[in-house]
Assembly symmetry: C3
Homo-oligomer: 457 residues x 3
């Protein structure tokens, strides 16, 4: 299986357009950490991939937290003294402080002002603000709009509800040959913001769609969850399952034109950390590997000391580091079709390495086997040998049962895909055999490492 080959066999411009179109479909919805916005979003995702939607009641204790009340909103506005809607939720759902309690009142500007949020440095942008855990109401607007407000009495209305209900999230589980899992997690709680995180939702959905059609070594679990409280809720409800998670990735802010950033897991040298670094290194473009820190997106929860999962975070521009972050400028123009496609390509390459990173055994470990008579070596007299022959020599030399293919790719400096093709060819020639994983198998019974001579395809 090679997702990358599948990807590269298609027109990337077209894939990019499809991704962007899907983000555009989700963009207008007013999402929050609970409520109908996230339900509607999951329903749309569920048209493309098999998605289980789960509801957790308000008040459910989840570790040190509890599931909050459910928030829904119909409308909101500020009417000027002249009766004109100067701020209108229908124009942008960012205008309302997310999780605002209902309010309907008339008040002078001076009383209204403490409830108004702006960004003076970017006077035309609306900020995105939330107040999940402290009951409050407010409006967000451009600084220029705020300055234009005249003294007088304003009618403010937030037609919202904050009541017992549910927290909603979606889960797409794709079973593989092993019940060890790769977890892909993205937060689905932000309203009309494109890079953060419709980019993550979109790429994850398309990646899951590709994987649906593959024979998989690992099982895959895609989580579409509200940030922080969603990850905490999922972990609290799935404590038995967590031991199956062998690798994980949080996807966020992967649609903009910035270069890639990969933030390592708390473990720092987990296989996913090495895989991501290898893929980005051979991707050709500039990128940066960041050390773990306990601040960021949901890797904070997955990497808390009680779990310490091997979960990293793939980004383009790092959240918080670009001015458009958490403003109305993070819109559909800020994410680009070709960047979304390129991010999907990198995710596909990461999955390929995870799937293919097995150990092999050289069946002729004493001296080199005679590659020439098997047509696996260079023609007579040529002085240089190509990368594909070097790859064969490296695979034979290092396949002593200790090194997996990624070890060989790293030590040789040769891309994983070339190393894996060499291993497949050598298996076909009877010179190499795969070492079966020591992994949990679908029926849940542990299986010790066994070796089989298996032809790879």
């Amino acid at each position: 299986m090679s997702l990358l080959k599948g990807f590269d066999g298609r027109d990337p411009a077209r894939i990019g357009q499809e991704l962007h179109r899907f983000a555009a479909e989700l963009f207008p919805i007013c999402r929050s950490i609970t409520g109908n916005g996230i339900r509607q979003t999951l329903a749309i995702i569920g048209r493309r991939i098999p998605l289980k939607i789960l509801e957790v009641p308000t008040g459910t204790p989840v570790f040190d937290w509890s599931v909050p009340k459910e928030w829904n909103i119909q409308d909101a506005y500020i009417k000027a003294p002249n009766g004109r809607r100067v701020i209108d939720f229908q124009a942008s759902n960012l205008h309302v402080l997310n999780y605002s309690t209902p309010v309907h009142a008339t008040m002078p500007l001076s009383e209204l002002k403490p409830h108004l949020h702006t960004i003076p440095e970017h006077p035309d942008w609306i900020p995105y603000r939330t107040s999940y855990y402290k009951e409050d109401w407010g409006f967000c607007l451009s600084h220029r709009e705020m300055l234009s407000l005249q003294d007088g009495d304003y009618e403010v209305c937030i037609d919202s509800t904050l009541e017992n209900g549910h927290l909603t999230y979606g889960e797409c589980y794709l079973p593989g040959r092993s019940n060890e899992e790769v977890m892909i997690s993205c937060h689905a709680c932000h309203p009309s913001l494109a890079n953060d995180n419709l980019s993550g939702l979109t790429v994850a959905t398309f990646l899951a769609d590709s994987l649906c059609r593959c024979d998989l070594r690992y099982s895959y679990r895609f989580l579409f969850i509200p940030g922080t409280i969603g990850a905490i809720t999922w972990l609290a409800r799935n404590q038995e399952m967590i031991r199956h998670i062998r690798h994980g990735l949080v996807l966020t802010c992967i649609g903009d034109k910035g270069r890639f950033h990969y933030k390592k897991s708390r473990q720092g040298d987990a296989e996913i950390d090495r895989v991501a670094a290898h893929v980005l290194k051979h991707d050709g473009d500039s990128h940066e590997i960041l050390e773990f820190s306990p601040y960021g997106y949901d890797e904070r929860q997955y990497c808390s000391p009680g779990f310490n999962l091997a979960v990293g975070c793939l980004m383009r521009s790092v959240w918080g580091s670009f001015p458009e972050y958490h403003t109305s400028a993070d819109n559909l123009a800020f994410i680009q079709p070709e960047r979304l496609a390129d991010s999907l390509r990198v995710c596909s390459a990461i999955v390929d390495v995870l799937e293919g990173n097995q150990r092999y055994r050289n069946l002729n470990p004493c001296c080199e086997p005679q590659l020439g008579r098997r047509n696996l070596y260079r023609p007579v007299n040529a002085d240089a040998i190509g990368e594909e022959i070097h790859a064969r020599l490296w695979v034979l030399n290092l396949s002593d049962g200790e090194n997996a293919l990624l070890d060989i790719a790293e030590r040789s400096g040769i891309p994983f895909s070339v190393i894996r093709e060499a291993a497949q060819l050598l298996c076909q020639s009877g010179l190499l055999s795969v070492i079966q994983d020591n992994v949990w198998i679908g029926n849940g019974r542990g299986v010790a490492s066994k070796e089989h001579k298996v032809k790879q395809s």
Copy 2:
């Protein structure tokens, strides 16, 4: 306890003046590795801190060495043919080759000259020379003085004694909650030389004085000893006690205006090595970490292979590397009040880290605890969090029982003091508990690691 806070609460200029005044009080005394000079020095130190003075008889075998004869001196001079004292011990005790045997004779200049020591490159400075282990006599003088000597007969007199007696050293032991020890050692055998090593004596004395008033985790042992033979003698007489020494520091040449140098212990990665590097790194000023070598001051003995103690050496300018070293130019003007104070400050910071470098356990290890409802997180809507909140996240994330606070400070890049305050706050909030040391307790019985929920103050 925070020595550093105590230090920073006072006027550093005044601390510097006190340190320098104390050095000035000790300066005129003619010290050597035995004799009344070191006794007098220890008596003055003993007015400030609880000091036990020990005497070891001449001839006592100490490992491969034996305690030498005791040397005392009353007077010494060279009289010119005209009867004038051209070299006078009363003017500077450096004029006499330290440990000179008694002599009283008259001899022509040509016979005297082999007994005269000068520094041609610094013609106005008197060198400091010794002959502890080979009986000899001599005078040290400026090169200019020597050149001015006219031919003729000179009366030379060294009114010294070299007889059976004692080697004297001082020990200040401050018991802490554990009988594991921090050893601070400085040589007290040099006559009128300021940086080498009245600077070390002075800072050590003031540090011990501060610690007297603290509730201590570790016990502290300050040694004021003659160089080499003193350290050897102490080690030979305290072989049972050595296993209690967990960290150690030799203090030498810490009063001049050079930047700090820390020479690592033979172990190279001992806790004291990491602590010193951390403190110097966050001190802001330029500094240098030196690898261990078996040449230097008494770390040579503490780090000999039979002990291999975790003892480093803190210096400003490295002994032997500055021209004033072992000359009359290493005088009271060469050491500066503000430098002495700054060295005491760094020593205090090192002690703070040693005292505070404990392991803690996150009591909510699964996911982050909800800091917001405990007022430990940022206010609503603020986009950036400060270093003190980062420190809380780091402490929670890494307090899995493996990492001590210094590990967390190193990995996060946040100064130890900020990390420790975060740990104390989290303990007060019930989110963290200290893991009790696995150390020897005062009654000498071993105690395994136990965990207590302890509020820190």
Copy 3:
């Protein structure tokens, strides 16, 4: 024993001339991987060192390979239409594709051309080409010669035989006090090529000759073998002996004026890797340490995963990286007497370190011993101590039974030879004792590590 001192006691220019003369004697012979050329070469080497010559019959299975037919050649030529020999084996044995099957025919130029090999980029040089494992015939000639060939019928004759016979190799075994071995291997199968690899043969022969006259700690095995198939054959026939090989070196291309390159063993941190790096570092000249790769000379076989021997490869210019490689320009002028001598010197220094790299025990491990009374320290009052005294302090400090002399040389930055002299002096003074190797002894019975107080000479 110090080979290096022996070497440095002689005139290097003269050693270089002797080495070059020996290479010149071997140069004209038409060697191949089998046949009389390699027999003749081994006979000449055998006049200088004790050499056992071994013959392995065609068809003998050796791991995945089998010993090929034996190739011999008497003559070969191409006659132009006018009857003149335009290509003549007697002028250069490179003119024949090595391992050409016999042919005697007349053919038009167009039919001949596919059998002609040239180097268009170097139109005056004859390439060196082989076809060991695919039966073929051909000629090698300068590109200029080929362009001058006129149309017409050419008589081609290769008077060779390719028949059942033997593969021949030479082995020089020098027994030491232990039956653990150092293996020096060089390929002896190339015809008139100087750097590749008469340089290796020559230096190995002279090194063996020096070692004949020494009392050796290790046993030494020099292999003069055909490349690839020779190493495979030797390994297949000596599987019981392989466990004795503790260190090994492949010598190739060490006569040209390039700087040294050492390619590490597959293990990467084997003692031979550290020894070679240490010697080259202190040699003063520029050099480069290369990581292992499974492509190159016979280290490919020694480092195959079934053996994973600690065998590195010492070169000057790296094979394949210089234009003269595998051409007629790799002639006797391309190798230089002083470079051959320098390579022999480096090999001698490597052997010295291997021989001397033992562990010692400080017999006074608690504190420093009093070096002064043993005249092992500096004279009174001198302020600086020399490298030889530093070396004594380092040896005493680190000789705790863990560190061998190379560890001490590496940590101190002092050359191994100085460290070893310090150890010898300290042994003579009764301060140090050697720790006997835990090695197989001549009678084949294992001996555990024992300590003896042994004076070294």
